[in-house]
Symmetry: C2
Subunit: 341 residues, 2 copies
């Protein structure tokens, strides 16, 4: 990629939407004269070539993109999805949405349905799915983009972030605040690579400091407020009580704060609790959550942009790594330096 100018390059150069560039190419009579002139100048300047093959293909398009997300029920995917939808709508493409309930068999079924409806492209969350799902996608030749994860050595087009590095950075942050007895409430790791990678990242950081996450200090549970509350209550009853609990996402962390409070612990004086995602819950929780900020809207916009490029140019696409950052709020407390580990 990068050599041949794309529809997006033209749109950017002419400061218009890709939909407008499409209209200039296909129905120029519908475009205002000034806009049309600007787009045509950009096309000439960049040497953009809307070859016939591409245009013929365009006629077979359904102008629909399908997305399979694990769930709509908590707000984890909401902002990213909203942004994805907005960028697709600009290109006059509708979004067909389905949920898998974090079940790979159900996801495979949803992918099959979307392909049978001849969607122009597919958006999936994370990389963990059976070989057969990828074979199906490849045999159809339908472009697809994976969101919510990015790994340097992924064979797929991913627009996301390095879950492992982000979780490692958060664990380092907690350790540098003086914590040594650390527990984790993870999402269910089976078939969820984001949950797996976040857990691995925490293990990486602990290992580097001669610490470890033993089985008793790791709770794996579905994402939910009740589940987070129960897991925290359980961890806080252990003889080796943790001084900090890292959570796989903000829903679990907000639940953990509730569980700790009900068990009579003050956050962060008695126990620190940190989250991951930076959704609205993180800000509303009391104390507000120290968490990993994920650029949800940018991920949705960029994901749509990359997929649109693959659809319109039939090119191979390119992955985009987005940065995350730690947002320090109030749920992480500082411990005095320990005498010895």
């Amino acid at each position: 990629m990068g050599d041949r100018p794309t529809l997006q390059d033209v749109a950017r150069a002419a400061r218009v939407s890709t939909a407008t560039v499409s209209r200039v190419l296909n129905t120029p009579g519908q475009v205002r004269v000034e806009t049309r002139a600007r787009v045509e100048a950009a096309i000439a300047r960049l040497g953009y070539l809307p070859h016939f093959g591409g245009r013929a293909l365009a006629l077979n398009r359904t102008n629909t993109v399908g997305v399979v997300i694990p769930t709509m029920a908590n707000a984890i995917f909401a902002r990213g999805l909203q942004a994805l939808q907005e960028t697709l709508a600009e290109a006059e493409i509708n979004l067909l949405i389905a949920t898998s309930g974090y079940d790979v068999a159900r996801e495979a079924e949803q992918i099959r349905t979307l392909l049978s409806r001849s969607v122009d492209g597919i958006v999936l969350i994370g990389e963990a799915r059976p070989r057969e799902s990828y074979d199906l996608l490849n045999s159809h030749g339908t472009p697809f983009v994976i969101l919510w994860t990015w790994r340097a050595d992924s064979p797929y087009i991913c627009v996301g972030f390095d879950n492992r590095a982000a979780a490692r950075a958060m664990a380092e942050h907690v350790i540098s605040a003086g914590h040594r007895r650390i527990a984790m409430i993870s999402g269910l790791t089976e078939s969820n690579d984001r949950a797996q990678l976040r857990l691995e990242g925490v293990r990486d950081a602990l290992h580097l400091h001669g610490l470890a996450l033993d089985g008793a200090h790791l709770a794996e549970t579905p994402y939910g407020l009740d589940q987070g509350a129960e897991a925290a209550a359980h961890l806080l009853m252990l003889p080796q009580r943790p001084t900090a609990i890292l959570c796989g996402n903000d829903v679990l962390a907000a639940g953990a704060i509730e569980g700790a409070r009900r068990a009579g612990f003050v956050v962060p004086a008695d126990v620190s609790i940190v989250g991951f995602d930076d959704v609205e819950l993180a800000r509303v929780a009391q104390p507000p959550l120290t968490t990993v900020h994920v650029p949800h809207r940018r991920m949705g916009h960029e994901g749509a942009r990359v997929l649109l490029e693959m659809i319109s140019d039939q090119g191979p696409g390119h992955s985009v790594e987005l940065e995350t950052e730690i947002v320090d709020r109030a749920s992480l407390g500082r411990l005095p330096q320990p005498q010895s580990a």
Copy 2:
């Protein structure tokens, strides 16, 4: 309605999904013998008649339902939508989703797009939209169901709740806790009948008690945490400082708690703040929000059920009123009975 047995009646009687009944009718070879026998017995018992017209129409179906919601970005519509999607998926129908950003012109455009894609049915939020949007829907003859509102005299098929009565009940509840100086943070009422009706409900209750909501004590603002926080900070600076603030939804209320706290007020000791919707934020907020519980999942399931019935039987459909209830948490305080109003 109610006389002629529907596909749903058969499904219920045979304890199978409507999709299974469809399969028995269309591709019986794909259904297990016992299940098929049970469905056929139910068909015979109820006298269900899958008339040719219906089956011919079925062949023209796209097995797609479109929904236009105001936004995916905060969690207001998440649980209802998830439930809607689950029930449609059981009938092997996919959901095409679009957002309007609370803009009726954009909604009209989205409805037009959905109709041009020959969706089998449409789900809309609330009744407030231009005459032309309804004309368009009616001229296409595509069944549509309205969620999130229900009024006895609505001319449309609505699966929702009485926003005005629910808000009135909440205002009564606040008044019965001894509050007289009451303010409201409302969502933008233009083109949003839910926001309008909730405001009217509050006015109804105040009026009944010889109270009123003057212009200074009413803030109208887009739904958002920042907007709620700003509005609360403003209301708490008024000379006639309110002792209770009613909010148009939980996002505004959670923001209002934050705004009050930043301005140095303790909730509910200094000011009570109540919400509407009972989304996750309500539970996580500190203090947890006293709010109106809306049966989101039931609304989604029932909405899908009614629409599926309209699609498969080409019948007129029927509205469903759902009950809301006040959930008493901790953000509403009791005032001593006032000496005089």
